[in-house]
């Protein structure tokens, strides 16, 4: 897989300046998304995965701001056929280029389809709007395309559903309509922000299959955010494990599940109930709880809960993400001794 990445996030830092202090929601995140790849970002709530993708889309709300890092994207301008590598972090958040990328080349599938559709306009109106923002089509054509899109994502009777309001649709249909809106302009990158959290389990599986199919047909890249390792196992090719705004481990999905390198990843995997485990045993949990964003522990953010905690090392220096074998990378002193402090000091 020696392809050039479609999206390359490098050392991204997004901070929120609040009255009480600065919350480092994303603190040095790096990962790549190759064309046609499904990257799963996994982590507990509050680990910064949502802020990461909001940063990529440049829709971080105030007082949040990107303080450092690059978001390199291979942009295909409307006029030129040449691809350009541009840094989204440097663009104006509401500028013309960023707006044409947002929704056009990078599309979002939100967490709660109920809330993400405005209740006072029909679903069709909102999908048509997305189409007409990015493609040079008439209203009629946009409507036709909307109906086709709805059919493609498996909405029955799309000619009628196009004029329905979101609150008239079931949860599954709503999410399908959302997906239709996301793929309406043939984006090259889909960002799915926990798209199955608000849906019941059976529908969840259907939606995942739909996304898988669409991805294969159009060769779209997907960033898939979830806290559910089961979903990751089903859909992702590559996994990014995040904890407190930092990347703990990255690697292909099989390696992450079968050969986890970081203690956090291991702890996460252990706490999944297994059908093969002995019944009537306690499900292992990760000791302790996520620290408060203002009281970020010094050194490795995970050290207070880590079973392999090395006093004098983990709580003093912050490990950086380093390759640990040819496929995986981890930020842990168990595998290397390169700390952020030593890097910046040089």
């Amino acid at each position: 897989m020696n392809q050039l990445p479609l999206l390359s996030v490098k050392n991204l830092k997004t901070y929120f300046d609040l009255d009480e202090g600065t919350v480092k929601a994303v603190d040095g995140v790096s990962f790549d998304v190759l064309p046609g790849q499904v990257v799963g970002i996994v982590g507990e709530s509050g680990c910064g995965k949502s802020v990461t993708i909001k940063s990529v889309l440049r829709i971080v709300e105030k007082p949040g701001r990107i303080v450092e890092g690059e978001i390199l994207f291979r942009h295909q301008p409307d006029d030129a056929s040449e691809e350009q590598l541009i840094d989204l972090a440097k663009l104006k958040a509401n500028g013309k280029t960023m707006r044409s990328i947002r929704g056009g080349e990078i599309a979002l599938i939100p967490q709660e389809p109920m809330a993400a559709f405005s209740p006072v306009y029909t679903v069709g109106n909102q999908i048509m709007e997305a189409i007409m923002l990015h493609l040079p089509v008439s209203k009629q054509e946009a409507r036709q395309r909307t109906i086709e899109l709805l059919r493609e994502v498996g909405v029955p009777m799309p000619e009628r559903r196009v004029d329905a309001y979101s609150w008239e649709l079931s949860g599954g249909l709503r999410q399908r309509a959302m997906i239709a809106m996301a793929i309406s302009c043939n984006p090259r990158l889909l960002i799915a922000d926990e798209p199955t959290t608000a849906i019941d389990v059976t529908t969840q599986a259907q939606i995942l299959n739909l996304l898988r199919d669409l991805q294969q047909q159009h060769n779209t890249s997907i960033i898939f955010i979830t806290h559910d390792l089961g979903v990751i196992a089903q859909i992702a090719d590559y996994v990014v494990v995040m904890y407190l705004g930092r990347v703990m481990e990255t690697g292909p999905v099989d390696d992450i599940f079968h050969n986890p390198q970081h203690p956090y990843t291991r702890a996460l995997l252990k706490s999944i109930p297994s059908i093969r485990s002995q019944s009537r045993t306690l499900l292992p949990t990760i000791e302790g709880s996520i620290p408060h964003p203002f009281n970020r522990p010094p050194g490795c953010p995970f050290h207070p809960r880590c079973v392999d905690f090395m006093p004098g090392v983990c709580n003093v220096q912050t490990p950086v993400l380093q390759p640990v074998n040819e496929r995986q990378a981890a930020s842990c002193f168990l595998h290397h001794s390169i700390a952020e402090e030593t890097l910046t000091a040089v």
Binding site: G103, A115, S118, V120, Y121, M181
Partner: protein, 329 residues
């Protein structure tokens, strides 16, 4: 939708029936009646009135009959479009108030339009630029607007206009048009005069509505559909105007229900201070002289205006919000 409106309309006569009873009780509440105060007036001017004359007067105005008969007679006349005679002005009430009523409604509408035109942009800008100088400025303005009684605003503006421009900004017409029949010139003259009382009357309401708009919009701006619309690549202004504003206007529309009655009700005071030829000052006078049929008619008109205001807001709301439309039908 149609069903909903019909349901509302059917409720109207019932409400007005209750209101007419309230209005009747109100005008009957003062001790004595018009004849009592009429006699007192005559007596103070030195002329004596004997009992026979008093009884004749009472009989002439039907004041000697039991309450409920007086009520039904009154209602019966009103239903046939006859509002009765003003005891004080000795003229048919309809003739007295028809033009004043028209001007009252016009003043109300102008005030309403002014309020909305001003309050909505202020609300939108304050919410989208929360905690900016603009936001703080209008927060202060809104507090002061609500805290200042309308007659104070009227008095201060009248005084300033007189002091610095030497003009007396009272009334709704220039002297040459006061008693003139309606003409194009008179309409233009009215437009030249009506804006100031409308602005004064609308000050309080503008402040309130801008606050409502700001709060609603701030709620809406946090909703996930905003993020989604942004993620679609919409420009910020288009997005704000299409999505949250559209939703934030709904609660604003529901304020019409109390705001229109508030304008009509509040116009009594501004009209009195600015000497406007609306029904407000006439109500005041009729209450003081106990001109009961005139007072009753005007109160009834105010009630009808209030009910119509509520009705308009209900219908508008149903039309604007598809969710309500669905529920009701």
């Amino acid at each position: 939708m149609l069903q909903y409106i019909i349901k509302r309309l059917l409720l109207l006569p019932f409400l007005l029936f209750i209101f007419s009873i309230i209005a009747f009780i109100l005008i009957q509440a003062p001790p004595g009646d018009f004849v009592t105060s009429y006699i007192a007036e005559l007596a103070s001017s030195g002329s004596a009135v004997d009992q026979a004359q008093i009884d004749a007067l009472r009989a002439q105005y039907g004041l000697d009959q039991p309450m409920y008969i007086q009520y039904f007679k009154w209602m019966g006349r009103i239903l046939t479009g006859d509002l009765g005679m003003s005891l004080d002005w000795k003229k048919p009430i309809r003739e007295l108030i028809s033009e004043r009523l028209l001007l009252t409604v016009m003043l109300g509408l102008f005030t309403f339009i002014f309020t909305w035109i001003v309050a909505i942009p202020i609300g939108i800008l304050s919410a989208t630029r929360q905690y900016s100088f603009f936001d703080y400025f209008f927060t202060v303005f809104n507090y002061v607007g609500v805290a200042t009684p309308t007659f104070m605003t009227a008095l201060v503006l009248m005084w300033l206009a007189f002091k610095y421009f030497g003009v007396s900004v009272t009334g709704l017409f220039s002297p040459e048009y006061v008693d003139a029949p309606w003409s194009w010139g008179r309409v233009v003259d009215l437009l030249k005069h009506i804006w100031l009382p409308a602005v004064i009357l609308g000050m309080d309401g503008t402040a309130r509505l801008a606050r409502v708009m700001r709060a609603n919009l701030l709620d809406e701006l946090k909703k996930p559909y905003m993020e989604m619309a942004r993620a679609k690549g919409m420009s910020e202004w288009r997005l704000v105007l299409k999505y949250p504003v559209r939703l934030a206007i709904n609660p604003l529309v529901s304020t019409i229900g109390w705001y229109l009655p508030m304008i009509f009700s509040g116009s009594v005071i501004v009209a009195t201070v600015m000497n406007l030829p609306t029904i407000g000052p006439m109500l005041l006078r009729s209450l003081i002289t106990q001109d009961m049929f005139l007072a009753g008619s005007i109160i009834l008109i105010y009630m009808a205006l209030a009910v119509i205001g509520t009705l308009i807001s209900d219908i508008l709301l149903a039309w604007l919000d598809p969710r309500i439309r669905m529920e009701e039908s």
